[in-house]
Every structure is written in C-alpha cells, then in structure tokens.
C-alpha cells in the first residue's frame, strides 16, 4: 500500500510538443492517500487512460515525476512498481484452473505453497468463488472471469495500488450493480489504494470516495461525489455528472447584475466582468422551478422517467431542463421559470468564478 504523488505530470505523444494542444495530458498535480478509493471519470479521449498507463508504468510521462510513498517510480516497469490491474476485457490464463490463476502471481514470486493455499482460499471466499476453484478458468462467465482478474491482484500482499480500467464493460447490465457494489465492499475490507477508470458516472460515484473528473487532457475537479453534484467547479463537470446534466446558459453582466437575455438573475457567486472570456451560469435541472413569474420559457417536450419527469423548455434559443416530481402538474406552452439562488453559479471561461484554489494551466 502506498501514497501516490503525481508531481507536475504532463505527457505528449509527440517528440517535440510545441503547443498546449500537443499534450494528451496537460498538467496533473495532486496526491492520492494510502488506502483510498478513487475514480478517474471522463469521456473517451479525455486523457484518463494516458494517466492510468503512467501510474501503472506502461507509459513514461514526458514531464514530471510519479512517487509511491516518496520513492520515485517514474521509470520503473509495472512489475517493479508492485501494482495490479484489472483490464476492460477479462485477462485470465485459459489453461489453468481458477485456483492456479489466483496462485500464479504468488508462484512467480516464489511464495511457498502452504502460504499460497491460505491466501488463495482467503481471496476466493472474499470473492465468493470458492466452488469454482477447481474448474478451468476458460469456460467461466465474464463476471466470474473479471473476479479472477481482480483476485490475482488481491492475493498479493505487497500491492501498492489496484487499478481498474473500465472493468464492467463486458458484464451483463443486470449483473453490473452486483459487481459494482462488490468492489466497494472489497475495498472496505482490504483497504488497498484503488483507482477506477470509467466514463460511467454511476460506477465512479458509487465506487469512489474521491472522484477525479477529467476532460481535454486536464483534471477539472477532484472531489467527493457530493461536491461534484452540489458544486461543480467546471461547466463540464456539471454537464457530465447528473442526468440530465447541469443547464449551462450564456449570460452578460449589465450594471453589475447577471442578465440572461434581458432578465436579471440572482446567483450565489461573486459577480465578475467577462474581460473577453465566456461567461455562463450553471444550474442543475433539480433546482429549476416552474413559477407564476420569472424567466419566460416555452415547453418543448416532457420525458416521463417514472419517478420524475424531465421538462425540456426553451429560454430564447437556449434549452433549459427542469426536473418535476411525478405528481407535479406539467405546464404546456408558455410558462415561467425560476432558479434556486444558492444553486445558481457563475462560470467564467468554463471555470467556477469563486474557486478557492486554482488549477494552473501550463
């Protein structure tokens, strides 16, 4: 187990990166505590796989350092780093039994058989695959194969970090939640640092204590699931987390007030001037209300999601979503909207205006 420090890591796949755009990973700088459950969340192409490969040792970053417990490991190979990884597609040794699969990493390290037997049985009961130990691994279902891949990481006592690269991709939708919660449970038992890479918000928020949201090759926010929902620090975070995502609407500052197409709004953020950059407000559909007066809007569509309804409206030419309770009446045609002030925030150039700290970009 180890604390992981990402020290000013940047990576470019080009030999001589000239501009910011040449970097697949622009600048990542933060610490991961020993024994934490973390998720790297972002859409495809956001740089999360690059970061994962840098941590696991499959890729050496072009700039910056990686430290495990204050020891630099930047140029060590995966096996020297003592990490474990569960891949998107289950990797198992087909010709071996489940038992031999789990024992494999220990045998390679010369652990004696008695000790191996104890560890394998401990892990298999934890994963609830005791009854499969003597079967050949080849014929198993994908979820059991994925459990074995994970087991090969858990069986080792010296593992610094276990990484998961979208491990539920090939799992049947109806088994996903079981495995998802199993992972969480396992983490609470073994307390090894775990990093879970995914583009699925439910997987990330369920698994992790701290979620790292990435896009455009940079980290946009590191926070608890609660913080990401309640106080997105970048419009993309607001958009990406939640279904439907946060409403992001361009605004202007007129006489020191926020104006949305001529209607003045109250926001919880300090008001700043645009200075040539984009200025937007963000408000989640959960905090948009139907009212007798306020911002005029036209109802375009209603989607019944069962437990609530999603109202799609147009304010000017901007789409605004609102979440209504199941029993709440649905307005038709023209209506008025209000936004809850504490949950309406101002974003400049995509970033929340009153960030308590700032991510330097280059």
């Amino acid at each position: 187990m180890a604390k992981i420090k990402l020290d000013n890591i940047r990576h470019s796949y080009y030999p001589n990166p000239s501009s910011d755009d040449d970097f697949a990973l622009k600048r990542v700088h933060f610490d991961w505590d020993d024994g934490g459950a973390y998720a790297l969340l972002g859409p495809s192409g956001c740089g999360k796989t690059t970061l994962l490969n840098i941590i696991s040792g499959l890729l050496e970053p072009s700039h910056g350092k990686l430290l495990f417990d204050d020891n630099e490991v930047t140029s060590l190979s995966p096996s020297e780093r003592n990490i474990a990884q569960v891949f998107q597609f289950p990797v198992i040794y087909d010709t071996m039994t489940v038992y031999d699969n789990l024992a494999f990493p220990l045998r390679n390290r010369g652990v004696d058989e008695a000790r191996i037997d104890v560890k394998v049985r401990e892990i298999s009961s934890m994963l609830e695959i005791d009854d499969l130990l003597l079967t050949k691994a080849a014929g198993l279902s994908p979820d059991n194969k994925q459990k074995i891949s994970l087991g090969r990481g858990l069986v080792r006592e010296d593992v610094n970090v276990i990484m998961f690269d979208e491990p539920l991709t090939v799992i049947d939708p109806h088994l996903k939640w079981k495995l998802r919660s199993k992972l969480k449970e396992l983490h609470q038992k073994v307390k090894t640092t775990m990093i879970y890479v995914t583009h699925d918000q439910t997987e990330a928020l369920t698994f992790a204590d701290q979620v790292v949201v990435m896009n455009f090759g940079q980290v946009l926010q590191v926070g608890t699931p609660d913080a990401l929902f309640e106080r997105p620090e970048h419009t993309f975070v607001g958009h990406f987390i939640g279904s439907p995502g946060m409403n992001v609407l361009p605004v202007e500052i007129v006489d020191g007030q926020v104006s949305l197409g001529g209607h003045f709004l109250e926001v919880s953020s300090p008001i700043v001037e645009a200075e040539g950059k984009s200025l937007e407000i963000g408000v989640r559909p959960e905090f948009v209300r139907i009212a007798e007066q306020g911002i005029p809007a036209t109802v375009v569509n209603v989607m019944d999601v069962g437990r609530h309804k999603v109202l799609q409206t147009l304010v000017g030419s901007q789409k605004v979503f609102a979440v209504l309770n199941e029993d709440q009446p649905v307005p038709e045609g023209s209506t008025y909207l209000t936004f809850d002030k504490p949950q309406t925030r101002l974003y400049k150039d995509g970033w929340l205006v009153d960030l308590t700290y700032e991510y330097e970009v280059l």
Binding site: S56, L58, P78, F87, V91, D94, T95, P105, N108
Partner: protein, 286 residues
Amino acid sequence: MKTENPRAWLLVLPVILLVAFNALIPLMTVVNYSVQETFGNNVFFWQGVDWFEQVLHSERFHDALGRQFLFTGIILAVEIPLGVAIALAMPRKGIWVPICLILMSLPLLIPWNVVGAMWNIFTLPDIGLMGYGLNWLGIDYNMTQSPLAAWVTLIVMDVWHWTSLVVLLSYAGLVSIPDAYYQAAEIDGASKWSVFRYIQLPKMKQVLMIAILLRFMDSFMIYTEPFVLTGGGPGNSTTLLSIDLVKVALGQFDLGPAAAMSLIYFAITLLVSWVFYTIMNKDVKE
C-alpha cells in the same frame, strides 16, 4: 442458426458433384484395381484380398513405411518448434512486419519440382554452392553416394521449404493476443517462459494443430521434391512411400499391388488425420 429451407441443399450440389468426380470416382477405380489382376487389354482376374496380404507382408513396404514415418517425424520435430520460435522472434508492429511476412512467404511460392531441382544443383559437389562449400571445408559430402547426406539434404530442403508455413500460422495466432494479456502477465511477475507457456502457447494452440495436421499430411505424401532431388537413392535409402508406390505402379506396372498399397497408404493418412481432428475438436469443446 438452424436452416429449414430444403433448397439450401441445392447450393451444395455442385461441390458434391465435384468431389465425386475428382475424389470418389478415382478412389473407386483404385479399389477396383486393388482386388484384381490385369495384364493389360482391359482383361481382369479376381484376386480378392491377395494384394493387400502381399503388400502388408512385404519387407519392401515395411521399409518404405518406416522411412516415411521417420521422415515425417523428423520434419515435424524440426519445423514446428523452429516455426514457433521464428514467429515469436518476428516483430509485431512497424514496417518490418510486411517485409518479414513477404520474406517468409517466398519459399512457399516456389513450385515443388523447382525446389527439388534448385537443391539438386545447390548440393552438387563440383558446381553447387553448398556441395562445393562443404567439401572445401573438408566435409566429405556427396548425397548421391552417402545415404546420411541424402537424408540430411532432404530434411534441410523440406525445412527450408515449409517452416514458413508454420511461422505464418503461428504468427497469425500470436498477433491475435491482446496487449492486455502481456501487461497482465508482467504485472503478475510472469517469466518469459511462463508468458509462452500460459499465454502464447494456449492462444496459438488452434492454429498450431492445423499447422501440424497440414505438415503431417503434406510430408507424408511428399513426392516431387525427393523424386527430383535423389530419385529415392542412393540405393533405396530415401525411397519414401509415394516414391515406392510410383516405382511399383509405373516402373513395374504392377497395378494390383500398387492399388492395394495406395489404399493402405490412404487409410494410414486418414487414420492419423482423424486422430488429429478428434484431438483438435475436443479442445475446442473444452
């Protein structure tokens, strides 16, 4: 998915006809010859299983069969490991991939009798590069006189000609292994041997079985190259089954024994191939 349309059989009909013409009918002719005696002029006498008994008890046939198994055994023992080793050493990415693949396929593109002729000239002690070279080095090499030299030449020639096939098939099996397997093995601390034993070999097994089957059948029925290279000599030392068969059938015009011989030959090939096929299918089901 199951098909219920009887018209589907119509589509298979041309193949059935083709197989009948080029396999079944000639085979029946051979069966016909094997139970009769003829002196030409389309006059036949019923012999029953006499020819089969004669062939099965003849020392000449036993010798030829023995030589055949020895040859095939050596060929498989050399070509399969060598082919796998070369495939493992070949690059997986980059511009060298197509270059290696083309180089590997070259021997396969040469007609069989040309291969024989090439090696025949190559090994001549007076003008052949290899023959002259070996003799110049002080090695007494002449495959028209020494049976050992003839065997070595024959095997080296076949290895040169056919190892590429094993390489190409193994390579196809190797490149289909996703990177994640190698990464996982590295993380698990696996040695190079373990990677080969538990990842590469299992993934190559399917194609390797096909390679072994093809090499077995081809080498068991080999004719052209040894015929051109040694003609079965010196003496009878490289007279493999097929060469012996042609000697009996065309050299001595003993059509009955030759037909019986070829049926036995056919049965052996079929039997061994069937054994291979069963093993392969058993693996697939697992």
